[in-house]
Every structure is written in C-alpha cells, then in structure tokens.
C-alpha cells in the first residue's frame, strides 16, 4: 500500500473494510472519551471545564500573537542556560542540522523519545541513510511501529490498533523476542532490550511539549520513562520543536499540561514531566554535556501570515479530536498518508504539504464538529477546513492549490442559479423527479449509475412525491393551516383540556 494523502480514497476503501479493527477502535475511543471526560471534571462542572478550555485557548492565542517575540525571548534565555538554539526553515535543513551535530559529536547510536516533529521531517530515515547511525525509538508503541515500518495509528497510541498477537509477531521477528501474548512479558522483554540502548546511546533526540520563553526551559511529557533516559544518559541531547510550541511562562505551560494529559489519556498528569534548563554542570554526571534545540518552521510561518490559517498552529497534540472523529475512527491512520492522522492532519497537512495533494483530507469530512467541541486549545477545525475548500476552489499560490476545473464547478453553478431563480428551481425539481422516479420501485430508488451512484452503495432514496411542498401549500395546506389555527385560537380551553387529558 502506497501511503500518501493522494491515495486517500483507495487506501480508505481498503481500511474501512477491516470491520474488526473498526469496531475495536470505536470501542477504544469510547473508553478514552469516558476517561477524558471524567478527568476534565477536576476543573468542576461543565462551565468550569469550558473556562479551563477557554484559558487554554487564550494561552495559545497569546503565544501566537507574540510568536516572534516569544521565540527570541526563549532563545536568549536558553543560550544563557547553555542551550544552543538552531533554526531550520524546512525538513531538509532540520535534518542536515542534526546530521551536523551527529558528526560533530561523533555519534554512533541515538535513543529517541516519541516526537511527532521528528517524524514530520523524516529524521530517522535521513540519519540512518546519510549519517550511518543506529536509532532506537524509546516509546514502546513507536518502537513497534518503527520495527514494523508503518505509520503510527494515533499520535499518542501509535500501535493501539494492533492486537497482542501482531505485536508479539513483530517483536519476535525483529528483536528475537520469545513469542508471548502476555503483555507484562512483552513489556519486560522490550524494557531490557531498550535499557541497554538507553545506557549506551551517544545522542538523545526528543520533541518538546512546550518551550518556556521566560526561563529558556523545555517541558517534556511522558508515561513510560523513555524521555528521562534519553535526556539523562547520552552525551548530547537534541530537542526538536516546531515554531509554535512556545509559551510565555510556567503558569501557561502547566495549565496547558493539565489540558493536554486530561484530553490525551485522561490522566491529571503523566508519570513524568521533565523540565530541562540546560546541559549538566561540571560536578554533575547525569544529563548531556551539550544540549541543542532545533526550532523548525517547515511551512508554518507562511500559514502564520494568514489570519485564519494561523489558527492551525494552535494544536498542542493531545489527540482528543481524533477520538471524536467519525471518519478517522472508521478508516484509521493509513489513508491520511502522513504522520498526523484525523482532524489534526486535516488541519496541518494542507499547509505543510500542499492543497492539491491533501484535498481528500479536508474534503472527507462531514463537518460534524466533534473535533472542535472538545479542543482544549481553541482550534476551529471546521472554519479551517472550509477555508481550505474555498482556497482550493479559487486556486492558491501560497499553498500549492490549483484552481478547480470548470467541469467540477458547473454543478454548483447550476445549483446557485437555481437558488436565485424560483422558475429554474421548479424546473430543476421537475427534471430530477422524472429522472429519479422512473427508476423507482415501491416508493424507493435503489440504484443509479453516474455521479450519484455513491449514495446507493448502502442506501436507497425515497421517490420524489408528485407534488412539492410548495404545491401542497398552494393547493390545500395554506387553507387547512388557517382553519386549524383559527380553531385553536378561538377555543384555547378545548385545546388545553385536550392536552391535559
């Protein structure tokens, strides 16, 4: 399967047929939604929860409004702490910068904490190929996915779609684990296997949950303890962050932390939250000798310039929207063809890739609004997705969207003309009725060739009545309604008695 957003349709059709996986994922989402909802009650009742989310949204608004300033403030303070800050315009430059660090510090093996941005820039592949290093993902799910060579299923649970048997099979095949379906034994084996890599790695690479501008600190969030290893044991620590992952101070960072974990795993806090302020000092042993932060743009600053699209940078990667999304839950991660599946991908991918390649992402959406109803950072997914649709219709140079063709637009032109002209509208209804009803059997149309055929894949369509509502109104309903209303108004007691009876 060639997993690219361009192949969304064909991959989705394959994935949606995996009924057992679908049912499992929907069930899991239900459990996680329950856990997250319960965790959010720590803030109080519904309106207190809304306030907590609103505060999260405001923190993100402030960060975005002051982005350049905050990044520079962070840089100054990080430098003061002995952290070197590097800037990368795109994925290629970010990879080259890390490669430079690998060479400079004579790195042979790398241990990693789970980082979405490292996957976004394709770092593992690049470094293994171009720098000849060995890389070990530290997060269990990510490690399994790395061995298997597939896309992570969910940004938080990369392998949650896999059964125990599948996981055991992958580990048996790649790292010689004696086959077992007991979760504790699997965890124990991988723990021992990776412990050795953690101890020996020359360089640790992580992402960043939030960079704190006022102190030049990094906040990293995890449950497994891989990030603590990766940032404590190796000689060098490289933290990758996209430009929007910065906030003013710890008050902001810790409020976002509470929203992040509660909407991610339903925890009030994760097992570990690391706050890193710089490389180890002369008398210290744990912690890196050298620490770098790579600030990566990769298309974001162009989106930032657009008043609406800048909001795509609000996301704090909790993944809550995913478990709300009826589409993602049915098709899984693969059709999105990239590392951010579900609503996050729909919003982020078009500005980082381009509008043409990602068209199915922002179009394969019922605009149900489940995603934005739970978002703790104030993202308006629907506004952004409909904005992409508008940009695609008109064509957009900034984000590689070619104007849609006239043929595709013609249907909507006809519809729009019908809307403006009742005569045309009525004629259109007449034609549609003749066209549809000639195929009707017992009041329903069950199949139809052509562009409407999709509808009939799983459902029928009711025959169109001979008279429209409009005609019924003219012919009888108007008069009938007048008489009924008059009676009701003339005899309210009767109506009341009637109702109580």
């Amino acid at each position: 399967m060639d997993l690219r957003p361009e192949n969304f349709q064909s991959v989705a059709e394959i994935e949606v047929a995996k009924v057992a996986q679908r049912d499992f994922v929907v069930m899991v989402a239900g459990v996680f939604n329950y856990l997250c909802d319960t965790a959010m009650t720590a803030y109080g009742d519904g309106s207190a929860q809304d306030e907590a989310r609103a505060a999260g949204a405001q923190i993100r608004t402030n960060s975005l409004n002051n982005l350049a300033e905050l990044l520079q403030e962070f840089e100054t303070n990080a430098n003061r702490n002995g952290i070197q800050v590097l800037w990368a315009a795109d994925a290629e430059e970010a990879c080259q910068l890390v490669k430079g660090l690998v060479e400079k510090h004579q790195v042979k093996t790398i241990s990693k904490g789970k980082s979405m941005i490292s996957e976004e820039i394709g770092l593992n592949h690049f470094l293994e190929k171009e720098a000849g290093v060995k890389i070990y993902e530290g997060d269990l799910g990510e490690f399994i996915v790395q061995l298997r060579g597939t896309l992570p299923f969910h940004i938080v649970g990369p392998a949650i779609n896999m059964t125990v048997q599948e996981i055991a099979g992958v580990l048996q095949q790649h790292i010689d684990m004696p086959y077992t379906e007991v979760a504790t034994e699997i965890v124990s084996y991988v723990r021992t296997y990776l412990r050795d890599k953690f101890e020996r790695a020359d360089m640790g690479i992580t992402g960043v949950n939030q960079a704190i501008a006022s102190t030049g600190s990094l906040m990293l969030v995890e449950n497994e303890g891989n990030i603590r290893w990766v940032t404590s044991a190796p000689r060098v620590h490289v933290a990758l962050m996209s430009i929007e992952k910065v906030c003013a101070n710890f008050a902001d960072a810790f409020h976002l932390l509470g929203l992040l974990t509660r909407n991610c795993t339903g925890q009030a806090i994760t097992s570990y939250v690391s706050v890193l302020n710089g490389p180890r000092r002369a008398e210290e042993v744990d912690g890196p000798e050298a620490m770098y932060v790579v600030i990566i743009d990769n298309g974001r600053s162009i989106a930032y310039q657009d008043p609406l699209l800048k909001d795509a940078l609000r996301c704090i990667r909790c993944g809550r929207c995913g478990i709300q999304c009826p589409i993602y839950l049915r098709i899984g991660a693969n059709p999105y063809g990239w590392i951010y599946p579900g609503p996050i991908g729909n919003v982020i991918a078009p500005v980082i890739m381009d509008l043409d390649r990602t068209r199915d992402l922002y179009e394969a959406c019922t605009l149900c609004g489940g995603c934005q109803s739970v978002c703790p950072s104030g993202m308006s997914h629907l506004d952004i997705m409909t904005h992409y649709r508008q940009m695609k219709v008109k064509g957009d140079d900034r984000f590689g969207g070619t104007r849609i063709c006239i043929k595709e637009r013609s249907g909507f032109k006809i519809l729009a003309r019908g809307m403006q002209n009742p005569g045309l509208y009525k004629a259109g209804v007449k034609i549609a009725r003749r066209f549809l009803n000639q195929r009707s059997q017992d009041g329903y149309i069950t199949q139809m060739p052509g562009p409407m055929s999709g509808w009939f894949r799983c459902r029928d369509f009711p025959e169109m009545p001979e008279k429209t509502f409009r005609q019924r109104w003219q012919d009888e309903l108007q008069e009938e309604a007048r008489q009924t209303a008059d009676r009701a108004v003339a005899h309210p007691e009767a109506a009341a008695q009637n109702e109580e009876g």
Binding site: R330, Q390, V393, F412, G418, V429, D460, F461
Partner: protein
C-alpha cells in the same frame, strides 16, 4: 405547568405569526416533514406564512467552498425573509447555515453582513422555536412505544440545541424516550460526503443504525432532513420495517 394554557396564553400577537422556511430537500423529497411542520404549528395556533419564492439556503455550495456563487443567493434569501418577525425551519443544518455561514459571506460588505446577522437571530430550528421562544414544552402529541433520539451534529454542536427536542419528545403521550449509545455522533451524511466517500459514510451510518437497533426503540427521531434521508435510506435497504422520523412528523400526531 399547564402546557395547554401556557402555549396559547403566553404567546404575544407578534409571535403568533410564523414564517416558514422549508428547505429544498423537504420541499422536493421529504414533503411530509413540511406538511407535519405546518399541521403542528397550526394546531398550536400559529398564523403561518410561506414565501413561495423561497428556494434553497445554499449550504451545499457554501460547504463545498464556492462562496462567490453563494453570495447572491444569500442576498436573495435575506431579502425574502428579513421582514418577518420569526422564521421557523424543520432543519438544524439550514438554520445553522443562515445563522453562522451567511455573515461570513459578507466579510467585505458590512451592510449586507448586518442584515445577515439580524436575520440569523430570528431564524429558528423548530424545537428551538417551540421551547425557547414560544415556551411550549408539550405539544399534545401521541406515540405508543419507545423513542430514541439522534442528536444531529448541526443542532447539537452548531446551534447548541439539545434539551429542546428531547423535552418535547419526553412529553409525547404514550412514548418513552430511551437512551441510545453514541447518540451525539454523526450519522455519516455530510451532504456531498455521502456520495464522494460512500464506503466511509456506510461504516458510520451502519454504526448509527446498530446503536438504534440495540436501543430497542420502536422509532428513531431526529430533526435534520439530511440525517433523515441518510438513515431512512439505509434502513429501507438493510432493515426494512425499521423506522426513522423527523421530530415534526412525531409531534404532528396529536392525541
């Protein structure tokens, strides 16, 4: 509360005039929904008005991104309805289009934007109108059996309408409103989505219907023509005999 007395006594003359906005899908296909809306509102004593020149609100054009095409149609829609004190529609998603999408069509035209916003404040979804505006919670309807309620996306999340239709259904004589798993989750319609991504749509509506069947309700009720076409079509194909109805159709059946 004596709903019967309340409904006629509380209503001012002003509010007794109701202008109907009948969405295109109801006008052309789901005529009985429009008819039920008329019968229900007339029975409650409202003086109904229907502008025969109305067509479609333009939602499909807007959600597909053709804002330029929708603009003129929106102007026409506004001109038709803006003299009315109250406009009522049996469609949450069309009301949402007028209330939320129309003002955005006129980002650069403040005068039209003002008119759009003002109209949006007076266009109500049916259950919202009955409960929030007319303060009617019991319409004296009858149904023998169990009802399940599907919370259509645009009602629930775009308009914030949740308790209103459920209150009306709870007060239907002879009916019991039963819980349904994932009642707040989308049915998989999504307009063009259902045609362009039929296999995904099928999976979603399939789960919706599975949950309906598991609820053991006799009838599924909802308040959006799009969801109704989708679920009714699916039931007819896969579970003939199982029924889904629009809220107006249920409420129109009087004791």
């Amino acid at each position: 509360m004596k709903p019967g007395n309340g409904l006629l006594a509380k209503r001012s003359d002003l509010m007794s005039k109701v202008s109907l906005f009948i969405p295109c899908a109801v006008d052309a296909v789901l005529v009985s929904v429009g008819e039920s809306t008329v019968r229900l509102l007339a029975r409650l004593g409202f003086d109904l008005q229907y502008h025969e020149e109305q067509t479609c609100c333009g939602q499909p054009v807007i959600t597909a991104g053709h804002l330029d095409l929708a603009r003129d149609a929106a102007c026409r829609f506004i001109s038709i309805f803006e003299e009315d004190e109250v406009v009522v529609s049996p469609s949450g998603s069309c009301v949402s289009t007028i209330r939320h999408d129309y003002p955005r069509l006129f980002e650069d035209e403040p005068e039209w934007q003002r008119r759009a916003v003002e109209l949006g404040q007076r266009v109500y979804e049916l259950s919202e109108f009955l409960v929030d505006v007319a303060h009617i919670e019991n319409v004296n309807a009858h149904f023998s059996g169990k009802l399940a309620y599907h919370k259509s996306c645009h009602l629930l999340r775009a308009l914030g309408i949740d308790h209103q239709p459920q209150t009306l259904l709870k007060n239907v004589h002879g009916a019991e409103l039963v819980p349904m798993q994932d009642d707040h989750v989308c049915c998989g319609f999504g307009g063009q989505f259902s045609i362009k991504y039929p296999y995904i749509s099928e999976a979603i509506v399939g789960d919706k219907v599975k949950n309906f069947l598991a609820s053991e309700a006799d009838l599924l009720v909802l308040s959006d023509p799009g969801c109704l076409l989708n679920i009714r079509g699916y039931l007819h194909r896969n579970h003939p005999g199982r029924q889904v109805k629009h809220l107006a159709e249920v409420l129109a059946e009087s004791v």
